[in-house]
């Protein structure tokens, strides 16, 4: 094995371009894909669900004969949401496991950090979580971003709220990172198109658990529309504080926390909370169909862990597999990238059809504003 490595290294020295054979990860009867995900710690909530989505897509394609007769397999690396480990994991997947393509690059900050490495390698990579503009503006040849930016989602949510609740006082609580910044940008953009009167705005440090003082200020400022820009726990804390203080503003949250568990944890106070997303709610017709598909290929325990990230993971992987399928025997990076770029839109039913273009590496999926229904622990589109 060591000898092989040494030989490989020697070839590399003589012909540097040959390091990553374009068809690495592809054998006669198998194709290997890889991904980096937070599978430990609190962010595992999204990592594990996403991973299920990818595996669902693979199971489906394998059940239908695989790609050109080859079964597709997945290697998942855990980065625990730690940037340095994301990059190490990418290097390992490409260098040691020799995967053909990457189905995820962990969260937004992690993907951003890994971008130069992934770009340098040239391996086709999907980014279905945390689609930040720097990932696709300017477009990177081999990096495909599926979904919608927080900025655009926020813009549409804000416009909807401004229209539905005109002339109200707004409060905004955001996280002190990229995510919060994107939301702020979206809100500012919406502010150009509609009348938004922000009376209270603050940033909290990530990991904060106690939101008593923030919500007191919300109350003090007479906020009527509150943008709760937390990820998951923070939103729960904010809504519970509002309940405690006896205030009842219109509360809007964002998709990372759009999971039934959040509604359950908040309790009845969660009824009527707004959210926005680019995948369908699980309780919709399309969502139920998706669950049915999931229960066909996943275990019962796993189906319980399905959430919106399963849909994004599934959809982006289906798009990737589609392109690979279209390459047929010419299963190379170049071909896959070319097909991803030029093929027709891929529709998985759980989000708007995924389509890229020559100068576009962003699916720019359509978002829907929705509202929580505590009785069914679900979200219902509002229009």
């Amino acid at each position: 094995m060591k000898l092989m490595n040494a030989l490989a290294a020697l070839t590399l020295l003589t012909a540097p371009g040959a390091l990553y054979a374009a068809d690495q990860g592809v054998t006669d009867n198998e194709i290997l894909l890889g991904e980096v995900e937070p599978l430990t710690g609190p962010p595992a909530l999204l990592g594990v669900a996403h991973n299920l989505g990818v595996r669902l897509a693979l199971a489906e394609v394998n059940a239908n004969g695989g790609i050109g007769g080859r079964q597709v397999k997945l290697v998942a690396e855990d980065d625990g949401y730690v940037t340095s480990r994301t990059i190490q994991s990418v290097r390992k997947l490409v260098g040691v496991d020799k995967v053909f393509a990457l189905t995820a690059l962990s969260g937004s900050g992690q993907a951003l950090a890994a971008m130069p490495v992934v770009k340098g390698i040239g391996i086709p990579a999907m980014v279905p979580i945390g689609p930040l503009p720097p990932l696709y503006e300017p477009p990177n040849n081999n990096i495909f971003v599926v979904g919608q930016s927080y900025t655009e989602g926020m813009r549409q949510l804000a416009l909807y709220l401004a229209k539905t609740y005109p002339g109200k006082k707004w409060g905004v609580i955001l996280q002190d990172d990229d995510y919060g910044k994107s939301l702020a940008t979206g809100l500012a953009e919406a502010g150009k198109e509609a009348q938004i009167d922000v009376v209270y705005e603050t940033k909290y440090a990530r990991g904060q658990k106690d939101f008593a003082s923030e919500m007191l200020r919300v109350k003090d400022a007479g906020v009527e529309v509150l943008i709760a820009g937390g990820i998951i726990s923070e939103n729960i804390a904010m809504v519970k504080e509002a309940e405690k203080l006896g205030i009842d503003p219109v509360i809007a949250t964002f998709w990372p926390g759009r999971v039934p568990e959040v509604l359950k944890a908040i309790g009845p106070a969660s009824d009527g909370i707004y959210s926005v997303d680019y995948v369908v709610p699980l309780q919709s017709e399309a969502g139920k169909a998706f669950l049915e598909l999931a229960s066909k290929y996943l275990t019962e325990d796993e189906v319980k862990r399905v959430n919106r990230y399963t849909m994004t993971g599934y959809s982006s992987t289906v798009a990737l597999l589609d392109a690979m399928k279209n390459c047929a025997e010419d299963l190379t990076w170049a071909c896959t990238i070319e097909k991803m770029q030029n093929d027709a839109a891929v529709d998985t039913g759980v989000m708007s059809p995924i389509k890229f273009g020559p100068d576009n590496r962003f699916s720019n999926s359509k978002v829907t504003v929705m509202r929580a229904d505590y009785d069914t622990l679900s979200y219902v589109p509002v229009d």
Binding site: N5, N51, G80
Partner: protein, 348 residues
Amino acid sequence: MRSGYYKETIARHVDLTDALSQRVWIAIALAALALAPLYFDYYGLSLITLMAITAVGAMGLNVLTGWTGLISLGQTAFMVLGAYSYAISTESWGWPPLAGLALAGIVPALASVVVGIPSLRLTGLYLAITTMASAFIVNHLVLEFDGLTNGSSGIFVNRPTILGFAFDTDQKFYYLCIGVALLTVLACLNLRRSRIGRALVAIRDNDNAARVMGIDLRSYKIYAFMTSSFIVGISGALYGIFLSFVTVDGFPFLLAIEALAILIVGGIGSIAGAILGAIFLVGLPEVTSMIFSLLGDGAQGLLSTSAHEIKGLLYGLVIILFLRLQPHGLMGLWQDARRVWTLWPLRY
């Protein structure tokens, strides 16, 4: 069996080593490091690079915690400052990377004075928690001054070109890191055997006696902070280059704890211990993964649900078992091994 080398002059006593066998071993180690890119794949090489960077940081912490006995949980703050100093100076201001690297040492060294002065009267865990506090405060400041630091978005960092030599590939960057690590080893060894190193250790062992010997406790504690932070800052810059991206997220609090773990696992106060500890702790997750992949497809199936938690569990367990069974750290293990080796087959 080696029977020792007689020293004929006092000057020989002052040398780092005059033993032929030791020199041979050093030469072999250097050659192995130089040839490593031939034997390791892309990933393996980046792992060694990471070990080298970590070892630099650990040696830096060792100056403060190992030698001077000042426990710090806040050296990540200086890694952050080093990384940002480098990133801002080279990427935003267009400084040459060498100057950026120098700044990556100098800025943390100066900042450490600010942390060090209030800490002069503190000892033990009080100091540990206070340094931890400064780490949190530094992170907060970095996010606050987003005009300079680009806030939470971070700064992309390119591979440097130093003295006309471009460290643009992973292999070349590997050599850079190994070079810096060797330089650090040498500097630390020299420092340790100088009046300054002795003064720091004297402060650790008995501060009152040290003062009576004419050692200015305040200055030397600040020296220790500065030297440590200088080295740690450099490792921060290298780490930033390694990640090609600098954000505060890249330097979580966990890193500070791991750094301390490296020293303890390696054998506190020893330079070789810091290096061995770095290799051990950076390699540990790889080894646990390997064990998992050896378990085959059954374990692979678990992958998305619980295997990673088990991995975290294993990681904690290895550290605990290590401390339990080998309390003197890897250096202790090494010395035991050497004793067995030199005495073999004549035990007792």
